[in-house]
Symmetry: C2
Subunit: 146 residues, 2 copies
DNA sequence: AAATATTAGTTGTTTTTGTAACTAACAAGG
DNA sequence: CCTTGTTAGTTACAAAAACAACTAATATTT
């Protein structure tokens, strides 16, 4: 026979990845949602700015593989809450450079600490080597260039 | 210092898992969506019935960790397309037993073949051992009992 | 330098999801 | 039995996502 018979839904990578992603982000989601009133794309934008420095909406979208309308709305809400400022770019007046405010940086710092702890807790389930391998494989699947 | 400095968004497991899940299911999604007009929960319901046999909406929800309203709507649409039948359970007349129709089974078979190929193609990126380890770790993260 | 095409970002409209409240059937406990 | 509680599944309404069409600025072509 051409195909082995061991194929199972529970082992189908797209399904399995999705389940793992959903399960393992449940608690973190509750924190940024309930405690900080942020949406998923919002904390992501926050993290991009906090971690990689000021950039435009387009750059964030490219890095996070997120559609521009999602970014646009996240940016809009973050600006409303005074977590970020938007200043028109000098060289290209269509684009605007996004930057964290003091308040935004504060929230970022807090959430980042929580994320680090959370990540460490998840990774505890594996040995150091396994964890590193896992991340490596996930980066490959995600199409992140090393 | 208390924390190592290597923490990066690209390595944060919930984020990374999500990116990997999204990226690696893009093509498959296009197939079941564009070619079969199915929604994510719909193909999942289809697969549950095809792979594990007839069961109730509740059972599917429990296995797939999916909320009952999502299942309810998926079941409703699948029934409308005559991919599944719903028959009230004898012993508990609240529940209904779901089963694939001939047509449903056909679609399932096709999609299952595609899924198998797709999975194999994804797994090609890793060695046999790595792939097995990956699935094992994902199952653990997803909270699937072995 | 017009005319045309492309790009950054926004807005409007439609789908899909999440949440809560609901119906109908069952399960106990008194 | 008959009140109270629980469960399977649906429905209604609010929140969020997807998709398309739009504006304004910049590139490109002729």
């Amino acid at each position: 026979m051409a195909k082995n018979d061991e194929f199972d839904l529970q082992n189908f990578l797209p399904y399995l990845l999705n389940q793992a992603a959903e399960q393992s982000s449940l608690e973190f989601q509750r924190i940024y949602k309930d405690r900080y009133g942020l949406l998923r794309t919002e904390w992501r934008v926050l993290f991009h700015l906090g971690m990689y420095g000021d950039m435009t909406a387009k750059e964030i979208g490219a890095r996070a593989l997120t559609h521009k309308t999602k970014i646009s709305r996240a940016v809009s809400r973050l600006a409303q809450r005074r977590y970020i400022t938007r200043t028109r770019s000098e060289n290209d007046r269509r684009a605007e450079l996004l930057a964290l405010t003091q308040a935004g940086r504060g929230v970022y710092q807090e959430l980042r600490g929580i994320a680090e702890d959370y990540d460490a807790r998840l990774a505890q389930q594996f040995s150091r080597g396994e964890g590193a391998l896992l991340r490596m494989m996930l980066r490959r699947l995600a199409g992140i260039e090393d």
